[in-house]
């Protein structure tokens, strides 16, 4: 009897040993749980198309910012790589090959209108690096929500062209290498993005107060990262020249041409148009783009109503006087709308007859080019954005007749 009872007991002990089990696995989607917090990537908001692009195919997907990496930690499989976005597309933050640096290593450009920096870590930070401020309702009472802020903890220093840039931001514990945006991360955004001139060289440096929940600080060698502020440039016009540039682009007499830039342009004086009429409005003229640098040639449409190809070829037509050309900002606020200049030939830009109800002559073919050397400076300073010369930009369009009624 004893023999088999002993056997059963031994079997039971064996089972108990099995039950002790193994530890939890380290999964690819896990963050690290020990060691100092390593910086796996530093990303800069570099999306120059954000929310202002009139191209409808792009706009529907963009209520977000695309970011480029200015740093990717080598040989670290926790660094973000190919990430699926919410709209069914993917974005590659860091190269899939862990031996490769970031594509824009050290020079990823922050987009001038509204740039920020995201510093991604491989483990959770002590969340006390962030303060939580209550959100107030219109009556000044807390509405129960909170926002994160780094105003008081200031976990980094941010300089551009060696000038300290004031910033706020937040700590986000959410995310890993697979999520968009990746995390956990410190999100740093200048209080006034235009404090840094376009083309500036910037550095973000992590301070000692950034550490893991167990007190380990970011290694000294991983604390400082460089990036740039993108130079200002001309992006495109709306309407844009098509391949034929045969003047087939049609405008009504009330639609101006929009010129898009990557940074805010400087505002000039404001004028009132259509004074005393129901259409009275105020526009802000461009401070810097001289109408004399805008070459606008016009001629009547063909009898068929189509554009005159000779005007488009530059072999016919009359130059529109600079005094008839008006360049002004889209909207009046120095926000993203200030990235857009509007241009028309609607007559007296400043006089009492200024109007916005007829911007072009009807039934007319126009050819638009810019003079060599034409440029528009950024409101935040830095090198101005050169407008393309005639060999690179030539927009021919024609206008419709005035409505008969």
């Amino acid at each position: 009897m004893l023999d088999y009872r002993f056997t059963i007991a031994a079997a039971g002990a064996f089972m108990g040993t099995w039950l002790v089990g193994c530890g939890d696995p380290d999964l690819p989607t896990d963050l690290r749980t020990n060691g100092p917090p390593n910086v796996t990537a530093v990303m800069v908001m570099s999306d120059l198309e954000t929310a202002i692009d009139p191209d409808s195919e792009k706009v529907g997907a963009l209520d977000r910012y695309l970011e480029d990496a200015t740093f990717c930690r080598l040989d670290d499989d926790k660094r973000p790589r190919l990430i699926g976005l919410q709209d069914g597309r993917t974005t590659e933050v860091c190269p899939d090959d862990l031996k490769l640096k970031a594509v824009d290593d050290g020079v990823a450009p922050g987009a001038p209108p509204d740039w920020f920096v995201r510093i991604v870590f491989d483990r959770l930070l002590d969340p006390s690096i962030e303060d939580l401020d209550p959100v107030l309702d219109p009556n000044g009472m807390p509405n129960g929500q909170f926002v994160g802020t780094l105003k008081r903890t200031q976990p980094v220093t941010l300089t551009c062209n060696d000038v300290n840039i004031l910033y706020d931001g937040y700590y986000v514990p959410n995310g890993n290498k697979e999520s968009w945006p990746p995390g956990p991360a410190l999100f740093i955004r200048p209080l006034v993005a235009t404090d840094a001139p376009t083309g500036a060289s910037c550095t973000v440096s992590i301070k000692d107060n950034v550490h893991s929940k167990t007190g380990e600080s970011v290694p000294a060698a991983q604390r400082s990262y460089m990036f740039t502020v993108a130079p200002m440039s001309f992006r495109f016009s709306d309407p844009a020249p098509d391949d034929t540039n045969d003047g087939s682009i049609t405008l009504t007499t009330t639609i101006p041409i929009d010129l898009f830039f990557t940074a805010e342009v400087r505002a000039g004086t404001t004028i009132t148009t259509d004074p005393g009429t129901p259409d009275e409005t105020t526009i802000t003229l461009s401070r810097d783009l001289d109408p004399a640098q805008v070459n606008l040639t016009s001629g009547p449409n063909l009898p068929s109503g189509k554009a005159d190809p000779a005007v488009c070829a530059g072999t016919a037509g009359m130059a529109v006087p600079a005094s008839k050309i008006r360049v002004y900002l889209l909207g009046a606020d120095p926000t993203t709308s200030a990235l857009v200049l509007q241009l028309d030939a609607g007559g007296d830009p400043a006089g009492p007859t200024a109007q916005m109800t007829q911007l072009w002559e009807p039934s007319t073919t126009y050819l638009l080019t810019f003079a060599d050397g034409a440029a528009v400076p950024a409101r935040q300073g830095g090198d101005p954005a050169a407008l393309p010369g005639a060999s690179d930009f030539s927009l021919c369009f024609h206008t419709l007749p005035l409505p008969t009624n």
Binding site: M15, G21, G84, Q145, P181, F187
Partner: protein, 1102 residues
């Protein structure tokens, strides 16, 4: 049909070949519906083998008798014994020996050694006394057996589907009973040898009341190669048979509202509409009768019982209270919930009528050739309310059109043949049958046929006053005075903050007006055939070889649609309050079909044409084949090694109408086969050692691999041409809301008006079939069991089992391009070589669309290896005490310590309850994976189960039976969930799975008291009362896991402190500095134990 014939012919060939093997032993039993017995007959005086002793088994359960002759070692084997109490009679040396009280159970092999006293007088009949061992010496199976004595005398629910949870390691989950850490959809249900599992989702389909059942064997692991297609348990049900005497019963059960305690309310914040469902009555009245048609040759058994359940769901409408008139809803300091007062209530009656039936013919041409035909089923007609994803009743909707008429249930036919040859040494078993399950839902009223609109934000219930007041309700008390309504109806006029929709008198979220929403009519059939041959061979011990083949031809015919042809969601109006400007956006969802004459552009680059259809039909089929060979090798009388290997194949076919057409979404020709799993090799090996050499103990071990049979929901959804379109209307081309679709509830012809709105963004989903990764492997579990059982005193055994289960390979649908396209693969497997093959295809094709398609697929396959490896680890230690079940007493007690951890709970998500086997959202995107590893929704470390009864014989005064059932179990771990930008609510694991909280340990005690009056020798009238949940424990079962309804990515490995800093991400993926808003119901009680319920019953047995 050719496939059917081929399978039958193949099975016949296998059978014929194996039958030709010579042997010298009786055959093994059909283990699905019968048991067996073996032992050694020895001379008590000399200790020598009683060679050529004649052993005869008789029982009321057995047609005729089974006779075998002991061999030269005195060994005898009797197989194919229906479950029941037997008497063994031994004729030896002109003396008759008799041993009674031998309990045969389904699937068990009993060892009964017989010691005959040859010194007795010739011609004398000697009764062999002493207890017969009850330890199964034939297999390594673990689980439990539920006999009719159990269900008659232990307080149990009414059907085998409700009783099988008595096995150690079993627990309820959302769709049934889970075993050993697997979800209930992974079980296989076998009734009369026929697989009756639902072909669509793997759930319970056929169900029968206890009175029709002879025995239910719940096999939770350790089974040999003859069993397969289950990663959970195999539930093997044998219905009652007739006998040479007429026996039967008339029975009835009654539960009334007066016997049921009131359910304690579950308080919820944020919705003015609550509900409580109370059972008005549940009753059944049935009869079953069995007897001879031709004594010893042909028996019958029939049964019928309708079961009626009448419930009332009371829909309460209550408003928030602001007694101090400060404009803020008052909070109850005790509960933390807002104080509310009743405005109106309305009762909605529902009913569930099930008609259980069974019929069975059992015939014996001779002792060696027996057959059986059976028919059984459970058709059901319901009038019910729609359910939320978590299984609760959805009453936040139009109460006038809510009711659904549901016809569902199952019926089955099965036939079985058993023949023995070569003096019983060879046995042939065949089972064939047909199973049909069906579930057809339709609105109970014409109004429910309209398209449903869900207002997916919080607004005042008074906005829906036209609906609510059209019935018997009066919700004028919900009218906010600043809402332009009657001030006199609003005693709290300051409780209205247009910036805070919760500051309304009666806020409702997700209200659904008119229309039933999604509906499906489905029929799930299976034709199956099982053929097996068993041969005993003597070579280095005793071998029982068994080989078999089984074939299943299944179908799932589905018709899915939305009431009114569309489902509309109004996400949020710019003016969320009534009276504010309306410029909301609607998302419309409709099913499409590719139609050359259609007007909707779809397919590649919009080149194809589609048209809207009200019902999407997909008739799909599936073929599953299996073959196995196994050996039960009795090396020594007390040492047996079981080994076997099982081969399986499953082919899932594309819906017939799609086969050999060109997929408009890919340009590829659609094949006939959607997926094919070949060469699923499942080896099994185990041992049984009896240290007592008397059949009173065993040490055993088993290792095996078990493959899943993929339910056909995948065929319908992935290979059924499911195509739908989502239109967002009320927005401009930039996605910004405009006023182009400014309709709201109450607008005339709302649905038609919305459908006429100019679409903004349009998204097509599905179309054609889902791509399947080349080399797809079957999903399987590996299991190791070590255990022991010992009959410590006669009729009482104690045992311990250790069970370790893993799930190394999983099949799931995935997307590595952000949900733009999906494919089916094994997550984390390396598909680099398959991707390289696709690259070659891309290089060799001139078709730019195909080139792009191949390149895209190659990129997707390469990313599969980066997914988290799937895991589901189950470790359990079970301690078991069992008493031999008899008609006078029974005891079965188990304690299980188990842990279930991993990142893949199984065929449905235990968090969202999404039941789409192998195509759930669990692996859809890499960013859905973080934080999913942890204790699963089935992790209950401690589980105690005690069942038993004792019969007090009061002699002429009758019998008194006292039965008890005790359950105690740990609570389940709670999760902390947020919304995912694409997949919506509860799909983002904000914190690691189950990390923060576990619901408390719960207990339930059920009792059964019956008094029986013996009217004659064979007739007894019993009356009884069952009380379920005697202590009326209504403790917490689970809490609300939704931390926020906002989109937020996981805080990987985080804790509660980190959560305070978690940020909102917009639907479009733009992160904000705003901290996520906590759902006021998070962590609050979500479900309680069912309250005390009494059940009266009677049973007249004869």
């Amino acid at each position: 049909m050719n496939r059917y014939l081929a399978a039958v012919v193949a099975a016949g060939l296998v059978t014929g070949v194996i039958s030709a093997i010579d042997s010298d032993r009786a055959a093994h039993a059909d283990t699905l519906t019968t048991g067996s017995i073996r032992g050694v007959v020895k001379d008590k005086i000399s200790g020598e083998a009683a060679v050529a002793a004649t052993v005869v088994a008789t029982s009321p359960a057995l047609q005729g008798e089974q006779v075998v002759i002991a061999d030269e070692s005195g060994s005898y084997y009797i197989t194919n014994l229906p479950p029941g109490m037997y008497t063994l009679t031994v004729f030896y040396n002109n003396i008759t020996y008799s041993r009674g009280n031998v309990l045969i159970q389904v699937g068990k092999e009993l060892v009964v050694n017989l010691s005959v006293d040859t010194s007795a007088s010739k011609g004398e009949t000697i009764a062999i006394t002493g207890a017969v061992p009850i330890v199964d010496q034939g297999s390594t199976k673990v689980g439990t057996t539920i006999t009719s004595d159990f269900t008659n005398n232990v307080p149990t629910r009414r059907t085998f589907g409700e009783v099988m949870g008595g096995a150690a390691g079993a627990q309820s989950d959302h769709y049934g009973v889970s075993f050993a850490g697997a979800t209930s959809a992974e079980n296989t249900y076998v009734v009369e040898g026929l697989n009756t599992t639902d072909t669509g989702f793997g759930t319970l389909s056929t169900n029968l009341p206890n009175e029709f059942i002879q025995e239910t064997e719940v096999i939770t692991g350790g089974y040999n190669a003859e069993f397969g297609r289950a990663l959970g348990a195999i539930v093997n049900v044998v219905t009652k048979s007739g006998s040479d005497e007429f026996h039967g019963s008339v029975f009835g059960h009654l539960q009334t509202a007066g016997l049921t305690a009131d359910a304690r309310p579950i308080l919820r914040e944020g919705n003015a509409i609550d509900n409580a469902t109370n059972q008005n009555s549940r009753y059944d009245l049935g009869a079953e009768l069995g007897g001879p048609i031709i004594p010893k040759k042909l028996w019958f058994h029939v049964g019928f019982t309708p079961t009626i359940i009448n419930d009332t769901t009371t829909r309460f409408i209550s408003r928030q209270v602001d007694r101090d008139q400060n404009g803020v809803a008052d909070i109850d300091p005790n509960t933390g919930f807002t104080v509310r007062e009743l405005v109106a209530s309305r009762d909605i009656p529902t009913s569930f009528k099930t008609y259980f039936f069974t019929g069975k013919l059992t015939g014996a041409i001779s002792q060696d050739h027996q057959w059986q035909l059976a028919v059984f089923g459970n058709p059901e007609n319901d009038s019910s309310l729609p359910l939320n994803p978590d299984g609760t009743i959805n009453v936040v909707r139009d109460p006038n059109t809510s009711l659904l008429k549901v016809d569902r249930g199952a019926y089955d036919f099965s036939g079985k043949w058993t023949s023995k040859f070569n003096d019983g040494r060879t046995q042939f078993d065949a089972v064939a049958g047909f199973h049909r399950g069906y579930n057809n839902a339709a609105p109970a009223s014409a109004g429910g046929n309209a398209a449903a609109v869900q207002y997916k934000y919080t607004r005042s219930l008074s906005d829906f006053a036209d609906i609510e007041n059209s019935g018997r309700s009066n919700i004028n008390g919900c009218r906010d005075s600043t809402n332009g309504m009657v001030t006199a109806d609003d005693p709290y006029p300051k409780l209205y903050n247009p910036n805070d929709p919760n500051s309304l008198l009666c806020p409702v979220q997700n209200y659904v007006d008119v229309g039933a929403g999604f509906l499906e009519k489905r029929t799930n059939d299976r034709i199956s055939a099982v053929l097996a041959v068993t041969q005993r061979v003597k070579a280095l011990g005793q071998h029982v070889f068994k080989a078999g083949i089984d074939a299943e031809f299944s179908s799932y015919d589905s018709g899915r649609g939305y009431s009114g042809g569309a489902f509309l969601v109004r996400d949020e109006a710019d003016g969320v309050q009534s009276g504010m400007p309306l410029s909301g956006e609607f998302t419309t969802t409709q099913f499409l079909k590719y139609d050359p004459n259609g007007t909707i552009s779809c397919g590649i680059n919009g080149a194809a044409k589609c048209s809207v259809i009200n019902q999407l039909n997909a008739d799909t089929s599936d073929r599953s084949l299996a073959a196995y060979i196994q050996d039960q090798w009795q090396i020594l009388p007390n040492l047996t090694v079981n080994a076997g290997v099982r081969w399986e194949q499953q082919i899932g076919y594309v819906a017939g109408f799609l086969q050999n057409t060109v997929a408009p979404d890919t340009g590829e020709k659609i094949p006939e086969v959607g997926f094919q799993l070949d060469n699923l090799i499942a080896p099994r090996i185990g041992f049984i050692y009896d240290p007592t050499q008397e059949g009173k103990a065993k040490l055993f071990g088993h290792w095996g691999r078990f493959y899943e049979n993929i339910p056909m929901d995948m065929n319908v959804r992935s290979f059924g041409g499911e195509t739908s379109v989502n239109n967002i209307v009320g927005v401009n081309s930039s996605g910004d809301r405009n006023n182009s679709c400014a309709f709201d509830h109450g607008s005339p012809n709302l649905i038609n008006s919305v459908l006429m709105c100019q679409p903004g963004q349009t998204q097509f989903l599905g179309g054609g079939i889902t791509y399947v990764a080349p080399g797809l492997q079957g999903q399987y579990t590996e299991e190791l069991i070590l255990g022991g059982e010992y009959e410590i005193i006669p009729d009482i055994t104690i045992g311990a089992n250790y069970i370790h289960r893993t799930l190394p390979v999983v099949i799931e649908d995935m997307s590595t391009d952000g949900g733009n396209s999906y494919f089916i693969a094994n997550p984390s497997e390396n598909y680099d070589s398959q991707a390289a093959d696709l690259d070659k295809l891309a290089m060799n094709t001139q078709d730019p669309n195909l080139k792009q398609l191949y390149q895209s697929r190659a990129a997707q396959l390469r990313a599969v290896k980066n997914y988290d490896p799937p895991s589901r680890n189950y470790d359990a230690l079970q301690l078991i005490v069992k008493k031999r079940p008899t008609s006078s007493s029974l005891l079965q007690a188990t304690y299980t310590y188990s842990r279930a951890k991993g990142n893949y709970p199984g065929l449905f998500s235990t968090e969202t309850n999404q039941l789409d086997p192998n195509i759930t959202s669990q692996y859809d995107l890499p960013n859905l994976m973080p934080n999913r590893y942890g204790p699963s929704g089935l992790d209950r470390p401690h589980s105690v189960k005690v069942d038993g009864f004792y019969m007090f014989n009061l002699r002429t005064a009758g019998v008194l039976v006292a039965g008890v059932s005790v359950r105690g179990q740990s609570g389940v771990p709670a999760n902390t969930l947020g919304a995912h930008a694409i997949y919506g609510q509860d799909e983002s694991y904000l914190l690691p799975r189950g990390a923060l909280y576990r619901s408390p340990f719960t207990t339930e005690i059920d009792t059964h008291i019956s008094y029986g009056y013996q009217m004659s020798k064979t007739t007894r009238l019993e009356g009884f009362i069952d009380i379920f949940n005697l202590l009326n424990s209504q403790d917490e079962l689970s809490v609300d896991p939704t931390y926020t309804t906002q989109v937020a990515t996981p805080v990987v490995g985080g804790d509660a402190n980190d959560l305070l800093h978690a940020k909102v991400t917009t639907d479009e993926g733009r992160q904000t500095s705003t901290v996520i808003t906590k759902n006021p119901n998070y962590g609050k009680l979500n479900a309680r134990q069912t309250p005390l319920t009494g059940q009266l019953g009677f049973r007249l047995t004869f």
